[in-house]
């Protein structure tokens, strides 16, 4: 049993609360990805789990054992740092075997464990070299190898790929995924890269300002964000938000209306608190906006800019008087994602369409009002049998 349980973790630096009441239960063999904007407390959370930072209140259980007051070395965890943190004066093999050596294991056992880890990561050829003789990617492998050698219950990764170039990052991402399946350990992985979060996680923990905004599978968070922050954070390009007003509220549905946008009737869930006249915000993902005018609702717009990415294209649309708030380009343009084969150019007039079923509704505080929808996208990584 390698599960990890965090109960009400709180951490303060002086007067600022960096982690506020974090609760998380990671089942055995789960791949938890922690994401959030810079400075939200991801690294601090990871260091608290590792025991590198003491927490002000709360409890940490690893494999059912309370390790809150234990030294990092006694917690049965291993950590991979963004800066690799290899010991420069030791060879690769010594680096990888250091943890076992500190644990007082016999030489033969250490050698075996190092060899096994080196084989998994294909770094056998570098075992006698020093870290400075290796490239960034190779160093990162060694750092991961150092973690594997100790066969811990829980692996902690703090943005392990952010120092690598794009191609290498993709390769290592796939490799860590494979490694996870092979090692069958619990992993907590911090990143600010959405692609890493969406593709690797069995569950995502989305943090903001030291609090957990939502925990769930990637698809769950993507299709049913609990609030506007989650909706805006996941997905690239990000969701379009448009200010509007509730003009009609009935049981299970609400109608919104604003200048330039036709009245839209939306399903809302039972606990949604909204009254006629309330300021609300609707959200529409770029892929839900169609440039061919198809859909329940239409509005006319002018193309502000097309970003051609080959397979797909991103269109920035000036749909005045409809303006997106917090828009990607700061001009209030709506963002639409379409097929890369479009022939539209800048300044062309288009009729854009969308379906009411794709629209999200948030109240003034950002809470989601629309009812949950079924996730019909298949992008979830294989869930591990618990």
């Amino acid at each position: 049993m390698n599960d990890l349980e965090l109960n009400g973790i709180t951490k303060r630096y002086g007067d600022t609360t960096v982690l506020a009441d974090i609760n998380l239960t990671a089942k055995d063999k789960e791949f938890i990805v922690v994401v959030g904007p810079s400075g939200c407390g991801k690294s601090t959370l990871l260091k608290s789990i590792a025991g590198l930072e003491s927490i002000d209140s709360g409890q940490i259980l690893i494999g059912g054992r309370d390790v809150t007051r234990e030294e990092p070395g006694d917690r049965d965890i291993a950590m991979v740092f963004q800066s690799y943190a290899l010991y420069p004066h030791m060879t690769v093999a010594e680096n990888m075997g250091f943890g076992l050596r500190m644990a007082g294991r016999p030489k033969a056992e250490i050698q075996k464990a190092v060899k096994r880890a080196a084989e998994i990561l294909q770094i056998n050829d570098y075992l006698a070299m020093r870290p400075r003789q290796l490239s960034g990617g190779q160093r990162q492998r060694v750092a991961i190898g150092r973690a594997i050698t100790r066969s811990p219950s829980v692996f902690l990764f703090d943005e392990p790929l952010s120092n690598l170039d794009a191609a290498l990052r993709t390769q290592m991402r796939v490799e860590i995924g494979l490694l996870y399946r092979r090692l069958e350990a619990t992993m907590v992985y911090v990143t600010h890269d959405q692609v890493e979060a969406m593709t690797m996680a069995t569950r995502i923990v989305l943090m903001n300002h030291g609090v957990v905004e939502q925990i769930g599978t990637p698809v769950e968070l993507y299709t049913n964000p609990r609030n506007r922050f989650v909706a805006g954070f996941l997905g690239s390009p990000r969701m379009n938000f448009i200010s509007t007003r509730a003009v009609e509220v009935a049981d299970g549905s609400a109608v919104v209306d604003s200048e330039g946008l036709a009245r839209i009737r939306l399903d809302i869930h039972n606990e949604a608190r909204v009254a006629v006249g309330d300021e609300v915000v609707i959200g529409l993902r770029p892929e839900s906006i169609r440039l061919d005018g198809q859909g329940d609702h239409q509005l006319s717009a002018r193309i502000g800019l097309i970003e051609q990415l080959g397979r797909e294209a991103i269109a920035y649309l000036d749909a005045a008087p409809v303006r997106a708030i917090e828009s990607e380009n700061g001009l209030g343009h709506l963002t639409a994602q379409t097929d890369g084969r479009i022939t539209l150019r800048r300044d062309d007039a288009v009729s854009i369409g969308f379906d009411a079923a794709d629209v999200y509704l948030f109240d003034a505080e950002g809470k989601t009002l629309t009812s949950a929808r079924t996730a019909d996208i298949r992008s979830e990584p294989e869930m591990v049998d618990a």
């Binding site: 260091k47 070395g73 500190m102 100790r150």
Partner: protein, 294 residues
């Protein structure tokens, strides 16, 4: 004129910038060393005419028991001074702990550095004073009589070296404190996760990162031991009966007090050779370390 400058400025600039250093180095260090070496082959009282003496100054030195006492004392200084880097490191590790009031302790350890060597010598001379010194009071408190350390030929050098160690330890402490501030935090964190604690952390993770600082501390300490002069001058003037003398002080004594510049210069030459051996080793190590670091 302008074109001349433009054509030659690629080598003129370096020359202009290097000139002050080169002139000073050759004038003050190289030329006077050479002159002093030359003087060692003469008999000279500093005023009158110089008479050629050949190697006789060196021959006399070889038969001078005081020379061997001084050399032996220099070795005692060197050996005892080697305690300064580890002590400095220990104190640096201690005051590096985040405990309340450590700032005050830190500044207390800085104290001997701001005092001049002469002041330190005077303070320790009082401390050792067999009738009213602090040491005497301590001995009195436990019902014993204090030894007169500074007039005991057996112990005098050790007593002086202990006084000289005080500022030297502080100096090493500051070097190590700077080094400890520059430790790679993530390496320490990684080692903590790897289960390294206490001695193992120090030995396998901290000390390797302090290698450069450690090297500088040792080099500075060796040089400090070999050129020891002011403490001896203030505390004992080499006495009693030359038993606390060292080469640097003996050279001064012979030249300035006994008006035997030739003989003093010969002592200086020997000291120079001892230092040169060390400096060659130092430079060799430093170059190798730089090459490895690159």
């Amino acid at each position: 004129m302008k074109t001349l400058w433009r054509r030659h400025r690629c080598w003129l600039w370096p020359v202009i910038f290097l000139a002050p250093g080169v002139i000073l180095f050759w004038g003050v260090i190289v030329a006077s060393s050479a002159q002093s070496l030359a003087i060692s082959f003469f008999r000279w009282d500093g005023f009158g005419p110089m008479t050629w003496a050949g190697l006789s100054n060196y021959v006399e030195l070889l038969h001078d028991p005081q020379f061997y006492t001084s050399l032996k004392n220099n070795i005692i200084w060197l050996v005892m001074f080697m305690a300064a880097p580890p002590l400095g490191l220990a104190i640096a590790l201690l005051v590096n702990q985040q405990i309340r009031g450590m700032r005050l302790v830190k500044s207390l350890f800085f104290m001997p550095l701001v005092m001049s060597q002469v002041a330190v010598g005077v303070v320790f001379a009082w401390f050792y004073d067999p009738t009213n010194g602090l040491l005497a009071l301590i001995f009195k408190a436990i019902g014993a009589t204090a030894p007169a350390l500074l007039s005991n030929p057996e112990w005098v050098t050790v007593a002086v070296v202990i006084a000289a160690l005080w500022p030297q330890v502080s100096f090493c402490m500051i070097l190590f404190m700077a080094g400890l501030n520059n430790l790679d935090e993530s390496q320490i964190a990684a080692a903590r996760v790897d289960g390294a604690k206490g001695w193992h952390m120090l030995r396998h993770v901290v000390l390797p990162q302090l290698r450069q600082v450690n090297f500088i501390a040792i080099a500075v300490t060796v040089i400090g031991a070999l050129r020891s002069f002011d403490m001896i001058s203030v505390m004992t003037s080499g006495g009693p009966f030359g038993s606390s003398n060292v080469l640097a002080y003996q050279m001064y004594e012979q030249s300035i007090e006994a008006y035997r510049f030739g003989y003093g210069a010969a002592i200086a030459a020997v000291l120079f050779v001892v230092m040169a051996v060390f400096i060659a080793w130092y430079l060799h190590r430093m170059l190798r370390m730089e090459r490895e670091g690159a």
